[in-house]
Subunit: 256 residues, 2 copies
């Protein structure tokens, strides 16, 4: 099977010109098939504030009410997405901006209300891997915003890490998928204080050891659990690195 | 050749729930291949005002400066476009929202500065009819926002009538194209005061007569001139009607 790189970047990277340009240049220079998934970030909060829309939180979790949904649809699906698409086009990368609603590529359901009503937040139900693969095979580079829909007329705010993982799984029947998560650091570090201590390779066995030694702990555990989920669902490898290194080979490779 | 309907609606139609729902229901029920082109409208001005971005005009013409470009990119490419796309998906119409930057489907150039600097306004250079036709042939329904790009990293604000006409021309090598412009009235009227006086058919010959009799005058002349331009470039027919009638056969049909 042919290879594909699915690169996930946080919204913060899009907000600063320096990191945005670095991302665009490095992403455009990746050889072969590829897909970019971008987060939303603080720009939606900034613009929501200016529009007089208050950010609402319950137990520290952000709530997407109807007004907030309009803001994230504008900012993630419009401003952030089209900025990236037009800049990639300038770099001869044939980008196509997508939300889950476009061609129904990512169908989701509004998160059921249990203790907290998160509002218009989507949990992914189905990625149309066939449609995406057929577009990618004609030379198109999808650029995916963190938005899905419920096929009942509602857009839904959806976590970009989830979109990246579900897209990677959906494409794994068609390609040998490398799923690349960009963070601030060049990979998972052996020593948090030493940026050069990147662990080059993590397997299920070494993961258990690293957890037992408390080298991997707290926030990194759910990220790695998600990585192993994707691998168990058919993704070939998950790479954790930073924007600087998406095309350099430096980073932590996670595989079965 | 197979038929296609390209429907252009103004931004105003998207802003009022009643007319939006009428559009969505009527558009979704059109049989066969189709494309929707939507305008921007006042929502960008409303949101721009709330964000403290002043609308700038020179000689009564709106200027798209950098801030305004960000607002129209958000509002037309994000909010308006994705609202329509998600609502069409709910009606089993497999919509794909597009700006000209997406897949480089509409390449434009920033309007040259002569007496007025319009700012980030695009004049269409090239529509990729092959790419659009191949998508449409797989069942996709393009929903086009009034935005293009210059392939140098800039989005450009572009008149929706122009996008509709240029897309119609670009698709005329692949389909028998009906280009439908939606207005307030059900067609070109014989008597401006009588909404039931729709002229059913206009040809180049009858157009000359109608102009000589002053039945067609002022603002309708450039619209009809553009319609004949499209016909001369290969479009099969141009229809002027209102949203109520996009699927009813009522309206003014313009053909050679």
């Amino acid at each position: 099977m042919e290879k594909i790189s699915i690169i996930k970047v946080g919204g913060k990277i899009l907000e600063e010109e320096k990191s945005l340009l670095e991302l665009l240049d490095n992403f455009a220079s990746i050889d072969g098939k590829k897909t970019l998934v971008h987060g939303g970030g603080r720009l939606a909060t900034t613009i929501g504030d200016k529009l007089g829309i208050e950010s609402k939180y319950v137990d520290g979790r952000r709530i997407t009410d109807e007004e907030t949904l309009q803001v994230v649809t504008m900012v993630y699906g419009g401003l952030a997405n089209k900025t990236v698409v037009s800049q990639l086009q300038a770099r001869d990368c044939n980008a196509l901006g997508l939300t889950g609603a476009d061609m129904n590529v990512i169908l989701a359901e509004k998160r059921p209300v249990k203790t907290i009503d998160y509002g218009y937040v989507g949990d992914v139900k189905k990625v149309d891997g066939i449609r995406l693969a057929s577009l990618i095979n004609t030379g198109i580079v999808p650029v995916m915003a963190p938005l899905t829909h419920d096929k009942q007329g509602h857009m839904l705010n959806t976590n970009a890490d989830t979109i990246a993982a579900e897209t990677a799984k959906g494409l794994s029947a068609h390609f040998e998928v490398s799923l690349v998560y960009c963070f601030e650091k060049a990979g998972v570090l052996m020593d948090e204080k030493d940026d050069n201590s990147v662990i080059p390779h993590i397997t299920p066995q070494s993961y258990e050891e690293l957890k037992n030694q408390n080298i991997i702990h707290s926030g990194m555990i759910p990220k790695l659990d998600n990585a192993f989920d994707a691998l168990n669902a058919g993704v070939k490898e998950v790479i954790i690195t930073n924007v600087e290194n998406i095309n350099s080979g430096v980073g932590t490779v996670i595989s079965l």
